[in-house]
């Protein structure tokens, strides 16, 4: 009895080892294939500082996040103005101060891309959205943040425009093009707004 079992074991061992090796190879292949697949992620560059465009960006971002996607938004150039929370001229060059005074502070100050007429267009759009029950951009931003959307401010634009991190809203990150590419290359969808 004892001998019979040993004989079976001896015959089975090489086959088992071969199977284990095959399994190992398959696991490695699956792992490398998985690394090549994009994440369920949406990456956006928000370049514009227009109310309507930034609104579109945040509506898409919160919709994607609500659909279970990871969302990254990279704010650069005019887009940065949407993230400002105060105007602080300390430690800035004359041109940076001028730029700071000439650009809006936060979403409240954004104008529309067409027919703005010194801010009247933006007020009109906001009133029309209210009439239709569309959430205001501030609510949409809050919603996107509650849903865990990653917001990154472009360091280079901040340096050029002289914007310091403490002038921007809390809870955001600062990064460069590699931060964007890091997320964009593993995204299913990438948008430039």
């Amino acid at each position: 009895m004892q001998n019979g079992q040993t004989a079976v074991m001896e015959r089975a061992t090489p086959e088992l080892a071969a199977l284990q090796e095959q399994l190992q190879q398959l696991q490695t292949q699956v792992e490398s294939l998985r690394r090549q697949l994009p994440d369920n992620r949406l990456s956006m560059v928000v370049f514009s500082g227009d109310l309507d465009r930034v609104l579109a960006a945040f509506v898409i971002a919160s919709g994607a996040a609500a659909s279970g996607m990871e969302v990254s938004m990279f704010f650069t150039f005019w887009g940065l103005t949407a993230l400002r929370r105060k105007r602080d001229s300390r430690g800035k060059t004359l041109l940076q101060k001028l730029m700071g005074w000439m650009t809006p502070v936060g979403t409240q100050g954004l104008g529309v891309s067409k027919m703005n007429f010194g801010g009247i267009g933006a007020k009109m759009l906001r009133a029309m959205m209210r009439q239709q029950g569309v959430p205001q951009i501030e609510e949409t931003v809050q919603m996107a943040r509650d849903l865990g959307v990653r917001i990154v401010a472009c360091q280079m634009s901040m340096d050029v425009m002289g914007i310091h991190k403490d002038e921007l809203i809390d809870g955001i990150e600062v990064g460069g093009v590699a931060t964007f590419l890091g997320d964009a290359t593993r995204s299913k969808t990438t948008l430039f707004i």
Binding site: A66, S67, G68, V134, M143
Partner: protein, 83 residues
Amino acid sequence: MATVQYDVEIDARGLQCPMPIVNARKAFQNLQPGQTMRVLATDPGSVNDFKGWANLVAEAELVAQETVEMDGKTVYVHYVRKK
């Protein structure tokens, strides 16, 4: 009217895109597997939105959609089950 049994109801009537799916997501997270939620919306875009949403969310199954008249308004009703 209810053609499908449901456990939770979300009233998104009067809300515009993206609010119906944002509210649906919040409720969906609290659903137990096998449970169904019913979403009421007046946004006509929600009909396609819930189809797209169910495609994106792996655990969500769009069981049925129907259009009904409620308090003199057209209401789009979506039934979503958690797998």
